[in-house]
């Protein structure tokens, strides 16, 4: 059974009103355990709405979302859904519930009703995962954006969800903060084998994923392994998306008659260029 199964999902804001907006239109896909998926789409493509639907923060207008077989609309079992799917949002300041880092990370496990020793162990583990153990007793206010976002990730990790959803979690960060967070996510994936769904509009970040799902005007337009999805510059452009820079370079060269093949990462580009001579 898929860990998350999205079936014919439609979500409409302000239904039957003048300002009705169809955010998601008949979207279906399955997420298997251990996958690393990048969900990309331009502004208003419905990707952030999708994040809130995956753990039942919003209820589908039509269709359903199943988490380990449990529909997110089942209010009696919603707690199980939230335990399985942890969402990290865009603004780290709006995810901190308190002013001491360890208290903030403990918030999730406390809600699970765990004994105090277990909570303590999880806080240690989660902070270790994001590389912030040294700040345990500190306050988040003096930290950089990247560090704050890593604390927010630790807060979700401490719940030990099966799936980690990152809703544009790097969008408000500077390049260094972005890299910090991306490296952290990759490390967690390697160490814990966690399923990750990363919502982003940065194509470079999407290239780290195994599979890319692209949304345009609420519909899925691409659902492919990340390499083939991101190498197709023209198709991405038609959906208002930018391919990663190396892919664009290869595309530009191809138009001038230099065929390099399917290229997504800087390393591939470098190797292909070296083979030219």
């Amino acid at each position: 059974m898929s860990i998350i199964s999205v079936k014919n999902l439609t979500y409409i804001y302000n239904e039957d009103m003048e300002d009705e907006v169809i955010a998601l239109d008949n979207v279906s896909f399955d997420v298997e355990e251990g996958e690393f998926i990048a969900l990309i789409g331009s502004n208003g493509s419905g990707k952030s709405t999708l994040a809130r639907l995956l753990n039942g923060l919003r209820e589908p207008t039509m269709g359903e979302v199943l988490v380990s077989g449990i529909p997110t609309t089942d209010s009696k079992r919603r707690f199980e859904v939230r335990k399985s799917v942890g969402v990290v949002f865009q603004n780290p300041d709006n995810q901190m519930v308190t002013t001491i880092i360890e208290d903030d990370v403990a918030f999730g496990p406390e809600n699970l009703g765990l004994p105090s020793e277990e909570i303590n162990a999880r806080v240690d583990w989660a902070l270790e995962c994001v590389g912030m153990s040294g700040h345990r007793k500190g306050t988040p206010f003096r930290l950089s954006g990247g560090q704050k976002q890593r604390i927010a990730i630790a807060g979700v990790l401490a719940i030990k969800p099966k799936v980690l959803v990152l809703d544009e979690s790097t969008a408000m960060l500077d390049p260094r903060g972005k890299k910090e967070v991306m490296d952290t996510i990759e490390r967690i994936r390697e160490k814990e084998g966690m399923t990750v769904i990363m919502i982003t509009h940065f194509p470079e970040e999407a290239s780290r994923a195994d599979r890319v799902i692209a949304l345009d005007k609420g519909k899925i337009v691409i659902d492919e392994p990340s390499h083939t999805a991101l190498a197709d510059v023209e198709r991405l452009r038609s959906y208002g998306l930018d391919a990663p820079l190396p892919a664009r370079v290869a595309y530009g060269l191809k138009q001038r008659g230099v065929e390099l093949g399917e290229i997504v990462t800087a390393r591939e580009l470098a190797e292909a260029l070296c083979r030219l001579k």
Partner: protein, 287 residues
């Protein structure tokens, strides 16, 4: 970021920081009660001295604590002036006989009794702000939430949502610096468009704040929605099934603190009422 001492913990280790949050909360309440019963400068001095001892024990820099006064500086000046000007004391002759002066112009007067009363009022105001600041400087919002929920627990019988109430308090404290920062940002944005906040009379200045308050209010609503989403995503469902990492625990020192404060409170009440008409009590309450 601006340094805001109100509502934020000063992160050091000290006996005051380690004290049980419930003890600190109750002591703070007792402290405020004492201030209302204190009526002479000597008694205020005794309370201030006790507070000073607590501040030193907490290892929070004195300046940091005193900085909380600047939030009420205008209130302080305003109440002082009004109290002085409107207090007629014991009347012109008696005032001149006691203090040697009595100035009056129109409906206003300046006299010894008025100055004395205004001084006491200001002292009380300052102490009322500084004391509770010590509570927030030495107690984490989570501990405070727990303590408030604990003290209000009897209200649960009346179906009052005690946990939720305490959580709201704690979130409010948590958001003070974030909202301050945001106010700053919006003010700068409005300044960049030519708004001015330090020109004109008080009404013009107040009117100039409207373009700041409106976006601030709208943003706060949006922010509260985001925070509630984040909290729910982290399995929050109120007090139901919730446990704590750090449990509140009374130590021997807490019992000791309670006794000391009880004795102190009794002493202050004694100075206020002087049940047994002791001479030394009237001496220290004279000024």
């Amino acid at each position: 970021m601006k340094d805001i001492s109100f509502g934020q913990v000063y992160p050091v280790q000290s006996p005051v920081h380690r004290m049980d949050a419930r003890t600190k909360l109750i002591i703070t309440i007792a402290y405020v009660v004492m201030l209302f019963f204190a009526s002479s400068f000597i008694v205020f001095g005794i309370i201030a001295f006790a507070l000073l001892l607590v501040i030193f024990a907490s290892r929070v820099p004195l300046l940091k604590v005193l900085r909380s006064i600047r939030f009420i500086i205008f209130l302080l000046i305003f109440t002082f002036i009004i109290t002085v000007l409107l207090n007629k004391g014991m009347g012109a002759e008696a005032e001149i006989a006691t203090y040697g002066y009595y100035l009056s112009f129109g409906p206003f007067t300046i006299c010894g009794t008025g100055l004395l009363n205004a001084g006491k009022l200001s002292t009380r105001l300052i102490l009322i702000v500084v004391g509770p600041t010590m509570l927030t400087l030495t107690t984490t919002p989570m501990e405070l939430t727990e303590a408030i929920a604990y003290l209000l627990a009897p209200l649960k019988l009346l179906r009052v949502p005690v946990h939720e109430f305490a959580m709201i308090m704690s979130l409010a404290l948590r958001l003070i610096p974030t909202i301050m920062e945001e106010t700053d940002k919006i003010m700068n944005a409005q300044k960049a468009r030519g708004a001015s906040f330090d020109h004109g009379n008080i009404f013009k200045r107040a009117a100039a704040l409207i373009p700041v308050l409106v976006p601030l209010f709208v943003n706060s609503l949006k922010r509260s929605e985001d925070i509630s989403d984040a909290m729910e995503s982290r399995c929050y469902r109120g007090a139901k099934g919730r446990t704590k990492m750090k449990k509140l625990r009374y130590r021997v020192s807490d019992i000791f603190a309670y006794i000391v404060v009880a004795v102190f409170l009794f002493f202050i009440l004694l100075t206020a009422y002087n049940w047994w008409n002791w001479a030394w009590v009237s001496m220290i309450t004279f000024v």
